[in-house]
Homo-oligomer: 382 residues x 2
Amino acid sequence: MPETLPADSVGLVTPHTRRFDTPLKLDCGRTLPGFELIYETYGTLNPARDNAILICHALSGDHHAAGYHAMSDRKPGWWDTAIGPGKPLDTDRFFVVAPNNLGGCKGSTGPNTPNPETGRLYGADFPIVTVRDWVRSQALLADVLGIEQWAAVVGGSLGGMQVMQWAIDLPERLRHAVVIAAAPRLSAQNIAFNEVARQAIMSDPDFHQGHFYEHDTVPRRGLMLARMLGHITYLSDEALRDKFGRELREGRINFGFDVEFQVESYLRYQGQSFVDRFDANTYLLMTKALDYFDPATERGQDLASVFRDALARFLVISFTTDWRFSPQRSHEIVRALLDADRKVSYAEIESQQGHDAFLLNIPQYMSVLGTYMRRVARECAQ
Amino acid sequence: MPETLPADSVGLVTPHTRRFDTPLKLDCGRTLPGFELIYETYGTLNPARDNAILICHALSGDHHAAGYHAMSDRKPGWWDTAIGPGKPLDTDRFFVVAPNNLGGCKGSTGPNTPNPETGRLYGADFPIVTVRDWVRSQALLADVLGIEQWAAVVGGSLGGMQVMQWAIDLPERLRHAVVIAAAPRLSAQNIAFNEVARQAIMSDPDFHQGHFYEHDTVPRRGLMLARMLGHITYLSDEALRDKFGRELREGRINFGFDVEFQVESYLRYQGQSFVDRFDANTYLLMTKALDYFDPATERGQDLASVFRDALARFLVISFTTDWRFSPQRSHEIVRALLDADRKVSYAEIESQQGHDAFLLNIPQYMSVLGTYMRRVARECAQ
């Protein structure tokens, strides 16, 4: 809760909602008759309309990427460290657009919004959406905003997958692709973790086959477990050791099943607080979008061949202790881009923070991103 | 289901049960008025009684370490690869003793056995047991079997922790300590995974605060989730990739939440079949014993100082892709043993199988173990 807003904050922001009445055909074969996207913007679109940046969010992200909704907010948007005046995504130079993805739970059409065909909330009837579907819907948003070509599309984790899909599917519509802490496809281990999270949610008796809204309940236990598990994979072994080690909350072992170690307390808190701000159906959809993302599959896993369609310049960033999407996964992306004769810069950032690092204010990371984005800014009309 | 028993099998075996009527004081402060241990033995105790080997089991292990209970058995005991005539733990030379730990669910006194004080099953009233408690109870078993000193105490994972505790607490009672795929204490990440597993079980409405027996149910969902999660940590990323990759069960994506990827099918099967053979309260107890194990804590984390009490020679074995208890954790053990001026041999086995490797028939592993154990055998009276 800031008493005054920091000078490098985008300040108080208000989300916008845009309704699209044209039907959207999805990868799964179903069609959304219409949909809404909620989004925020920071900075000003220049007259040449060439300084726009699209921010793609990750699993539990949303459209509130920077600034505050009210002076009473405890925390700013999820990527406030990177977005603002003078920050790497410099809102004095760029017009930054941050939508909530289709299937999300923060205002865009998703499981917790009304299904026009039934009048009740979609719940489990919401179609499974893919990274490609998100790119399609984001392109429609770009159209209405008058953005023919993004200066850059930027995202971390699942957001980085959207960036790659943009570069592959709509090559003329972005000049730069910034792919952070991502992978060209999930590993079996990644899918396995997602599957345990899904089973936790779906086996919760309060899930009611995804129609828990009508039962006036939420699958708290399942979503909490999914989030606890997620958190372990976001943090490195080192980060957990540095943060908690084997420290005991009451300084001694109690020989019981209540919280004893600090790390248990942290995980339970993370799990519990997530339940109050996230939707279980959206969690399921996001993990499926992750599982399915595999742009090279249609070309016999030849990722380079897929990237040959791309026209953007790439910046790829990974973090040394990220074991969810390790630097090796970024190397796969970089290697394929080089094989495809694309222009790519790569930075591997030293960090103890695991996958979570992509959200943090790490000087080397912010410096690399800032340097790259200043170059992007110089290409824009003044 | 063997039609004939393999020549190197210990053959058909029958478990023994031993009742102890002396009260056993536990680390948690409570006292078991009496208890039973179920165990199997393979081979023959020699007249000098110096060729006995104790096998300590891991989280989901039990006393059925080798051979078959019936010709109709689908599989032999859990470490049949290592125990038998001519195998590394050569039953032509050694008398092998394999008990089920206290708090287990396969016949030793535990949550699913009657509490003499109430007449009903212990359930959640069973006291939390520690690795040290297990060593105490195993020593009582050694007493009644007339084994003053084990030729070796051997165990992997949580079993390896028991081996270390034996060497520290009862140094005169073993000549060799074989510590496989273990760690001197859990990391915060290890504890975090255990905590998610516990929360999965305890938050299952069928858990009934651990007294589900009386409700004629079992917390299937929770135990299944715990096991699925466990399996991810037992297998390496590489093993999952080699085994399943991103292979789809029906060859195509179905855009639904049923099993799609082979790895999901595998995990669900592992989870479901575990529920039928394991007890949720025992699972909780085993994870707590893991969390609490930390022999160096009383000496300011000076593991070398603790090992100075030991008299046994050590063999320490780790596996390259084990990320649950990585080779680095075994290095900590070896370094502390060297600092304590103890005799230790160390082998790091190349394997793609992750933590699970300690249960598998890996030639280099079996060769190292066999060579070491032949030396142990030569020290025994003929």
